[in-house]
């Protein structure tokens, strides 16, 4: 047991030391970030930022709502300066929860289109994520497809795959549809799609793509960067999955809400109300919206840039141009709760 004690005291002191290191990370020349964007998809940019500016970035990643809860509970003592999420609804939720503060950034007001940021400056969109229809090339003709709404039609009976309604991407899609069609029509749309499902929803977006490719179903709705990732994969199996699939941009033509455009969402960031390093936070946010960072997002994760004129990856180019639903992204947040209720009622698992 003696050696056991020795080991445990060694570990104890090492852990104590790391606690000290961790708490000391709040001096000046730093910025503290709570990010719902995964480490692998933001750390390289943060490192780049630190290299060019000398400002150290401290990072905690996690799920948006959990980080939001942490911000709320920490209140005025929070060390966080920036809150980054991958969904506009969560940014809105954070604004409503009173943990963000409005900041006017002339540079970003100029470069980021109005609909991709909060009017009062509570948050700024950083990348765009489109969620169109994906179909199997060999079994579906593009002419058969038209709108999201049409996926509830009888011709798609037993041909549709959808990810779980647990996914925030689907919740936002429904939230946007509520805005376009109203709650009642949205619910019958969901009911129609649920009836058309070939199997109960499971897995992520990539799993839906694989299901369509393997012939389990013919159409699905996913974010485009998952398909782009398969296209760019070094694995043969991934490439052959992608080769059987194509993107269809729904709701492009037609009058009124039918032609509102394809659903999209943003990842974005807002300043925390009690952040202690506003200057550094501003520098970081401006960096994330700069051209070099935007190019990185487009290259590495195949997300659409929020800046106009930034080069996009060849995979994204192959999907073609599309018209976006010009909805005010705040609405995604406002309608989220109702969206989940409708999905519960319609039996979208």
């Amino acid at each position: 047991m003696r050696s056991f004690n020795l080991i445990s005291s060694l570990i104890l002191s090492a852990v104590t030391a790391s606690i000290l290191v961790v708490t000391s990370a709040q001096a000046s020349g730093e910025v503290n970030v709570y990010s719902a964007r995964k480490e692998a998809l933001i750390k390289p940019l943060l490192d780049q930022f630190s290299n060019t500016t000398g400002i150290k970035v401290n990072l905690i990643t996690g799920k948006a709502d959990a980080l939001l809860k942490r911000l709320q509970v920490e209140g005025s003592a929070t060390p966080a300066d920036l809150f980054i999420t991958v969904d506009a609804g969560r940014l809105h939720r954070a604004k409503e929860a009173g943990v963000l503060k409005p900041v006017f950034l002339p540079l970003l007001e100029k470069t980021i289109p109005k609909e991709l940021r909060d009017n009062a400056g509570y948050w700024y969109g950083l990348t765009l994520r489109a969620r169109p229809i994906i179909y199997a090339k060999d079994r579906v003709k593009p002419a058969e497809l038209s709108t999201y709404e049409a996926l509830a039609g009888a011709q798609w009976d037993g041909r549709l795959c959808l990810r779980s309604s647990q996914s925030v991407y689907n919740q936002s899609l429904v939230a946007a549809t509520i805005d376009a069609l109203g709650a009642k029509a949205t619910q019958s749309w969901i009911e129609g799609m649920v009836k058309n499902l070939v199997k109960a929803p499971s897995g992520g977006d990539t799993d839906q793509l694989k299901a369509v490719s393997a012939g389990v179903c013919d159409v699905t709705i996913t974010n485009t960067y998952y398909l782009a990732r398969l296209i760019n994969s070094s694995k043969k199996a991934d490439q052959s999955v992608a080769a059987k699939l194509a993107v269809f941009w729904p709701n492009q033509s037609g009058s009124g809400v039918l032609g509102r455009g394809a659903h999209f969402n943003v990842s974005g960031a807002g300043f925390t109300k009690y952040g202690k390093n506003p200057k550094q936070a501003q520098a970081l946010l401006e960096y994330l919206a700069s051209e070099s960072a935007q190019v990185w997002y487009a290259d590495i994760n195949n997300e659409y840039p929020v800046l106009k004129g930034v080069e996009i990856s060849s995979a994204l180019k192959s999907f073609g141009d599309y018209k976006m639903d010009p909805i005010d992204l705040e609405i995604l947040g406002q309608n989220n709760r109702q969206a989940v209720q409708l999905m519960d009622r319609a039996g979208w698992k």
């Binding site: 790391s18 998809l41 401290n58 905690i60 980080l67 060390p79 499971s202």
Partner: protein, 541 residues
């Protein structure tokens, strides 16, 4: 006498402190939102309940079928391969449930190699042949049974090993056959341990989110998260969690009632053992197959799959893995020591003076295991942040700089959360070890003038060494695999292997997650092997 009293008070205080997060969660019940509850009741609640019950029933059956026979065979019978099987059967413990779910899905899904091969071979296309749907309730039951049976195996095996041989021998001398002695003596005597293992497996099942969510099975726990994330409603999520807790308390009470006053002591001083039951002929084969099945499907197949992914498809490991491994290891080790030490103190206080306040407080503190880690984390965050704000106010009134979030923003919060979440694991093992020690030993110690703590140190701890080590091992491995609480409570720039696996896997980069997953398994193997060595040493042969 005063000292015993002091111990009781101490135990109640510790247990109350550890119950803080649970109290926080339950206190949300006062702000119930009738509209949301009615909506849940009308739409999804019955689905959640039915699925959770089916899951519990399935996993319960699964872990008993896999855990008890293997424990019996490896501790009581002799057959070739028994020695290495006895420790190899622990290996699935190191495999997080969501990881085994990912790997089997990769193998057995419609797009996976097995079904693709079937299609190529037969020329059929999807839907024209029957194949086990891995993403289903049944799939979740199989996955969880495969990685959770070691709880039952470990506890049952420790019980079988600690059973005094004399009782079985007496049974045999009274004319029982060895198998009869097993059914009528050994198994009933091991019942507290088996139940302890079973309830750990079931509580873990209830708290699981990763597996059921991936398989698209709506359980009570996915409901909690849907309420938290989808509705953005912490209060309602906490209320659902509190209902889950009520259900667990009910189960535990039922089990207690069914055992009532039965006492399970054995003559712990008899260390000698009868010879193992030698198996011959076809029985050897059957025994080996029974032991190989859980090992094969719970460890070898998924670990091989991970290894292949890690070697051929993942990005190579960077040096930051050393840091990740160290963070995971040190945190798990520390948490295991803290949790088991507290469990020993608490169980001993209960044994020396089983008065109601002590028993209630301890029972309360143990229920953290049934709650999902995220919910525990919120329960930890709220009181710690409150204390932090108090501290900050104190510092500032003294004219000093604010110390920042000393408790809620540091590893203290994580250790606290782990202890709350996994205390039950430590308690289960330690208590079943203690229960087997005759009270007469305590009386003897006391009559010789030893203090309760001296008795604990000199008599009990050495006698239940393997139970204590078992507790340390399980808490260690559990913390190593723990994800949700770590994710919410960790300090800045602090990553663990489980966090790395989650981030890559949830970003649908399974192959890239494989190296970290293997690291978890490897680090988890260290205590498994240590434990095995220790148990083997206990028994001279």
């Amino acid at each position: 006498m005063f000292k015993t009293h002091g111990l009781s008070v101490f135990a109640v205080v510790i247990a109350a402190f550890l119950s803080l997060p649970i109290i926080v969660i339950v206190s949300y019940l006062v702000q119930a939102d009738g509209v949301l509850w009615r909506h849940l009741y009308e739409t999804v609640l019955s689905d959640y309940l039915i699925n959770s019950l089916l899951l519990l029933f399935g996993v319960g059956t699964g872990v008993l079928l896999l855990g008890v026979p293997t424990a019996w065979l490896t501790s009581m019978c002799s057959f070739p391969g028994r020695r290495w099987l006895s420790w190899a059967l622990l290996l699935p413990l190191a495999m997080p449930a969501y990881i085994i779910a990912y790997t089997y899905t990769g193998l057995l899904d419609f797009a996976g190699p097995v079904q693709t091969w079937v299609r190529d071979l037969t020329g059929l296309s999807y839907g024209e042949y029957w194949f086990f749907e891995i993403r289903s309730l049944g799939g979740a039951i199989v996955m969880m049974s495969l990685v959770l049976y070691p709880y039952v195996y470990l506890m049952a095996r420790a019980a079988f090993l600690e059973q005094s041989v004399s009782s079985i021998e007496v049974g045999c001398s009274l004319g029982y056959s060895r198998w009869r002695a097993m059914w009528s003596l050994a198994l009933p005597m091991a019942r507290p341990a088996i139940i302890a293992g079973l309830s750990l497996a079931l509580m873990e099942t209830l708290a699981d989110y990763g597996t059921v969510q991936y398989f698209g099975v709506s359980t009570f726990t996915t409901g909690i998260f849907r309420t938290f994330y989808g509705y953005g409603d912490t209060a309602a999520a906490a209320q659902l969690a509190a209902s889950l807790l009520a259900f667990v308390i009910l189960l535990v009470m039922l089990e207690r009632y069914s055992r009532r006053r039965a006492q399970y002591h054995s003559a712990a001083e008899s260390r000698a053992r009868a010879d193992l039951i030698p198996l011959r002929g076809s029985k050897v084969g059957i025994a080996i197959v029974i032991c190989l099945v859980p090992l094969m499907f719970g460890f070898i197949v998924p670990a091989t799959q991970l290894l292949l992914l890690a070697v051929f498809e993942a990005k190579p490991l960077g040096w930051d893995f050393v840091g990740l491994a160290w963070n995971s290891f040190s945190l798990a080790f520390l948490a295991a020591i803290v949790a088991v030490t507290l469990a020993i103190i608490l169980s001993y206080a209960k044994r020396s003076k089983p008065i109601k306040p002590v028993r209630t407080a301890i029972a309360m503190a143990g229920f953290g295991y049934a709650l999902p880690g995220t919910i525990i984390a919120i329960g930890v965050l709220i009181p710690l942040a409150w204390m932090d704000h108090g501290l900050i106010a104190l510092f500032e009134s003294a004219g000093w700089d604010s110390p920042g979030l000393l408790l809620s923003g540091s590893l203290v919060a994580l250790l606290f959360a782990y202890t709350v979440r996994f205390l039950a694991v430590a308690l289960g093992s330690v208590q079943s070890g203690l229960e087997k020690i005759k009270p007469s030993l305590d009386h003897a110690g006391r009559s010789m003038g030893h203090s309760p703590l001296a008795i604990l140190r000199k008599i009990h701890v050495p006698l239940m060494r393997s139970s204590i080590l078992t507790a340390v091992l399980i808490v260690f491995v559990d913390v190593l695999k723990e994800l949700p609480a770590t994710l919410i409570l960790r300090p800045f720039n602090f990553n663990t292997m489980a966090v790395r696996v989650y981030e890559l896997a949830s970003d649908e980069r399974l192959a890239d997650a494989a190296p970290a997953a293997i690291m978890i398994v490897l680090v988890g193997l260290i205590p498994v092997l240590m434990l095995h060595a220790s148990i083997a040493r206990r028994r001279p042969r």
